[in-house]
Amino acid sequence: MKKRLWRIIIGAVLFTTALIIGNKGAGLNYALFLLSYIIVGYDVLLQAVKNILHGNVFDENFLMSIASIGAFAIGEHPEGVAVMLFYQIGELFQSYAVNQSRKSIASLMDIRPDYANVKRGNSLIQVDPDEVQIGDIIVIKAGEKVPLDGLVMEGSSMIDTSALTGESVPREVVAGDNLLSGCININGLITVEVIKEFGESTVSKILDLVENASSKKSKSEQFITRFARYYTPIVVIIAVLLALIPPLVIDGAEFKDWIYRALSFLVVSCPCALVISVPLSFFGGIGGASKKGILVKGGNYLEVLAQTETIVFDKTGTLTKGVFEVQKITSVGISEEELLEISAYAEYYSSHPISNSIKRAYKGDIDSNRISKVDEIPGHGVEAIIDGKQILAGNSKLMDRMEIPYKPEELAGTTVYVAVGGRYVGSILIADEIKSDSLEAIKGLKGSGISNTVMLTGDNKGAGMAVAKELGISKVYTDLLPADKVDKIEELFEEKSDKGKLAFVGDGINDAPVLARADVGIAMGGLGSDAAIEAADIVIMDDKPSKITTAIKIAKKTLGIAYQNIVFAIGVKVIVLILSGLGFATMWAAVFADVGVTVIAILNSFRALKVKDL
């Protein structure tokens, strides 16, 4: 690249000298033009010859060679050199731009860990992450990347997850926590048991995804390559006709004049500006999104996302945390603490999610000696003897069955009613919690052109409606089995307009068929969930629903840039073609139409990478 730059500089100096000398020293002037031409363009000429031998006629080297040689032949030396000089400048710039974007992908790849410190006996050995087995114990020092997914056994530290999630606030891990590969250990020393092989670890999955993104081409990319395939031959044929026919049929038309116009055509006929600018925009968009912790599996999905009109959410785990917590304790005749304690003891041996949340809410230790007898009554609850007293804890059916008068609660969620010795003592409400940014997410979506927000849930009507009402979601379907969700999606497909697209957002747990059926499937909380990464088209690495708005904004911006590039590149080329065909535009304008447009389109597509303010 440096060599090319020097050739351009030397060529440019010789070229300007020749222009300054002008026609005064005819011989010297000609020699300087020729010399700079050869210095700047010899490789293009050589390549053109090689390509012709291989049977490739319409490639850019050939077109530029013919155009510049032609210009020399009709005595337009400056134009001949200029074509080659500016073509080379354009190429230089283009390869710089391409390298720049290749580097930005390389920086995304920077999360690849180079080694793992494996504990063997009493010593630590540095090995390739690929060689580490499940169950091996690894040590991660401050500043090192987490090489494989694992479980923290000893130590605590702050972990930088920004490479995976785009989240800049570090997270604290302590013994017992899950640790994902690709994060960076900021300060502490931690000992970790490996739970996944390298190939199955999060970092490998993400690298694979980023590298293979954009292998699915968007419609605009397909359009532009198809356009280029016809564009070049057609323009070349017109150029040939332009050189031959008018001089023969129009009185007084000169060959030289029309050949000049034809040569301008050849310069403009290069398809490169078009072909490079559109994929570069999409690539920028995909790269920008991944900086925000949003993985997009291909340019086509950005395109669909930008046209989305209906967004369907799964409730649990997507809009809500998917973790059931005690929300409200209503005690009758005893204190709230006592009620919680009694319930925690009664539920001690149960592993039902509801029991677990009650036990979590009760912070104290449980002395199992106080529990003498526990019976689970399936579908109802538990009956236990604690401190010699009979405790009943369960749903309303249990209370009815035991004929205990109680006060029914009409709240969203699951209510556990508790009775001691046949007397009702109160109820505990357990419900899923709405994520802190869900409301912001729904508002943001409405502001960015989404006309229809829908929520699907397997929960009962009360729970579903309450969440939907709080978030301002326009439509809710409740009591759905996983299979019903696909049917509902089909119904929604019928309702939406033909052009608008439908996106589904889920957490990847038992909604894979729906993710696949939607125009674009978005999985939330992709971190650590293989199912989600595989089934979805777009993966949001942390579990913030507001990232969906960000993704749509990025998609719209990217698509806008791609369209601008298409219109701009084709527009300028067509205008210059018409003008030079009519004899109004010089070859200089043609060179600009080729090189200038390429450079501007590339610069424009760089904007897609910038996602800071979105």
Partner: protein, 77 residues
């Protein structure tokens, strides 16, 4: 039964976007190729083709690539 397999290559020295498009089209026309994608920016070539024809497809692909851009080399990724 026809078994499809996927191979990934790196195209070293891939310098022009239009050439990448041409390679993609030409390789896609080969017998037995199910899908092919050349990513100009990551310089990756992904070929999905019938298992038993893969070897000959790779050879033909190498020829196509050399013809379109002589400086580009096909490397195993």
């Amino acid at each position: 039964m026809v078994v499809n397999m996927k191979k990934v290559f790196r195209l070293e020295g891939l310098g022009c976007a239009n050439c990448a498009a041409k390679m993609e089209m030409k390789i896609g026309e080969l017998d037995g190729v199910d899908s092919v994608s050349v990513n100009f920016i990551t310089t990756k070539l992904v070929i999905e083709a019938e298992d038993d024809k893969m070897d000959s497809i790779i050879k033909s692909a190498e020829k196509i690539i050399r013809k379109i851009e002589p400086d580009t080399k096909l490397k195993k990724a």
